[in-house]
């Protein structure tokens, strides 16, 4: 095979694959949602049950992502700047939510925070359960975006700030935070997207009560089950738009961070 034919073949495979596997199904979804026209689309997503599900999803996802922004930054800091026995195990455990099937994650939380909770915290079928499930699945994101930046960040800069009289809080705010902020932001944004789309970890523990604990993904799922795929498509397109927006934001943060990188 000539060089040029090989190159064209591999490029052809890449573009065909992504078109058939990802782009065409997405186009079919958009097409289906547009069938009822703008008015029909608007009516479907502003139906009270759909609206309640979307509101709940966005609120709890944002809360979980922000909580993990704080706790994830602390965890990343401990992993990089602290040293104790078992740290490498701790580092490995962080990835558990990426490796564990989400339905199993839901079961773990239902066992620990459900009716037979050994610690007496009974969250099953409440919004609190959704929050905990989303904390679980989004836990690694901020840790894994902040950790590499902290490793690269020179400890000497922090020491210089301290020796010049800056307190711990000032050093963190003026020296550490500006460097890790792009990492925190892109981690939080990806965590938010992940949380908005989650179903597996939620479906067992939330009870899926309409208006109370029904999240957007479950709403879409139940609409399909009840034979209304076009109605499901409208809400699904809202979720799709959020996903694209998140990817745009993350791409923007990445470009900003590389442009302002110190050599």
């Amino acid at each position: 095979m000539s060089e040029r034919a090989g190159a064209a073949l591999s490029l052809g495979f890449v573009t065909t694959f992504i078109t058939v596997v990802v782009a065409l199904p997405i186009a079919a979804l958009a097409w289906s949602a547009s069938k009822k026209g703008a008015g029909g689309f608007w009516d479907t997503i502003t139906n009270p049950e759909a609206l309640a599900a979307l509101r709940l999803t966005l609120a709890v996802a944002a809360l979980a992502a922000l909580t993990n922004a704080v706790l994830g930054t602390i965890t990343a800091w401990v992993l990089v700047r602290d040293d104790f026995r078992g740290k490498s195990t701790m580092n490995a455990i962080i990835d558990l939510p990426f490796a564990l099937p989400t339905i199993v994650a839901g079961l773990l939380l239902l066992t620990f925070y459900g009716p037979r909770s050994p610690v007496g915290v009974h969250l099953a079928f409440t919004r609190g359960a959704i929050f905990v499930a989303l904390l679980f699945v989004t836990l690694p994101f901020v840790v894994r975006t902040v950790q590499p930046v902290l490793i690269e960040l020179d400890v000497e800069m922090e020491e210089a700030a301290r020796s010049l009289g800056a307190g711990e809080a000032t050093t963190f705010r003026r020296v550490v935070l500006p460097n890790i902020l792009p990492g925190i932001l892109s981690g939080v944004t990806m965590a938010f997207a992940r949380a908005v789309g989650e179903i597996g970890a939620i479906v067992l523990i939330s009870g899926n009560l309409p208006y109370r604990t029904e999240v957007a993904s479950v709403f879409v799922f139940l609409r399909i089950q009840s034979g209304d795929p076009d109605g499901a498509a409208a809400v699904a397109v809202v979720l799709l738009a959020i996903s694209f927006a998140v990817l745009l934001v993350v791409g923007g943060i990445r470009r900003f961070a590389t442009k302002h990188e110190r050599p």
Partner: protein
């Protein structure tokens, strides 16, 4: 200073304990302490065995396919210029940010009776929805990004000087790929394969939409967990979950072995 360090360490460890470690330990303990025989019985049930088989079959297609795609896509995005590159890049990332249920619905609409592909396929006697092909297609979709996302930064980091040197010395593109490029990205590929595999084995939302969850036919391992939960078969729920969790923990160990070796570049 020391007190601050200890406080932060306690917060981080305490958080991991209440969210990850304690729930996982409790499930392990309850499986063995309460219903070990029930768990074993559920695991040897033919429908459960079949469910694991379906999961493995889907992964057996998705992992090699997405490994090939991931490496070629990484090379195309980092080393080449072509029209539509931005779009390819965006669609590769999309499954990371998109709800699996939305993925399932998109496939449902494309391959359904009236869908663009579905009407043709059904007309020619091919059943995709509520059958194995839809499970495979959904699994391929959700696991698209992982190899590509690992390979792309690594390719950027190693640069193309070595590849150009190989070219100048008369190596063909094929030789350059096998002798120069692939050896230097191999750990990224391995790491990507591990991530792809665990995503495939754990897939739930997309498969739940397209498979129809028919017992003994189109049920995957994760759908089986839900089935057993709905049947109030506690032993089954815990048994199957424990096997899946054991695979996940093995994955974590593999990942922590592979990760430090990235520094060998």
């Amino acid at each position: 200073m020391n007190a601050r360090k200890l406080t932060l360490r306690a917060i981080a460890l305490g958080y991991l304990l209440v969210i990850l470690v304690a729930p996982l330990s409790l499930v392990v303990w309850r499986t063995f302490a309460y219903d070990a025989s029930g768990a074993w019985k559920a695991l040897s049930d033919p429908d459960t065995v079949h469910a694991f088989k379906v999961t493995l079959e889907a992964a057996a297609v998705a992992v090699p396919l997405n490994t090939l795609f991931g490496v070629l896509c990484g090379l195309a995005i980092v080393r080449r210029r072509f029209p539509g590159k931005g779009l390819v890049n965006a669609f590769v990332d999309l499954p990371l940010a998109l709800s699996p249920v939305v993925v399932g619905l998109a496939l449902f609409l494309l391959y359904g009776r009236t869908g663009w592909f579905g009407s043709w396929l059904n007309g020619h006697g091919y059943q995709v929805l509520f059958a194995l092909p839809s499970i495979v297609i959904a699994t391929v979709f959700v696991s698209v990004p992982f190899v590509a996302r690992e390979v792309i930064p690594t390719l950027r980091e190693i640069g193309d000087e070595q590849e150009q040197a190989a070219h100048t010395l008369g190596a063909s593109s094929w030789q350059t790929f096998w002798r120069v490029t692939l050896p230097s990205i191999r750990w990224a590929v391995v790491y990507g394969i591990v991530l792809t595999t665990s995503r495939c084995l754990g897939e739930y939302g997309a498969v739940a939409v397209v498979s129809g969850s028919i017992q003994g036919k189109t049920e995957t391992a994760t759908l089986r967990v839900q089935e057993e939960y709905e049947n109030l078969n506690t032993g089954g729920v815990y048994g199957i979950s424990l096997v899946l969790a054991a695979i996940a923990v093995t994955t974590l160990i593999l990942m922590s072995i592979v990760k430090p070796s990235e520094e060998r570049y």
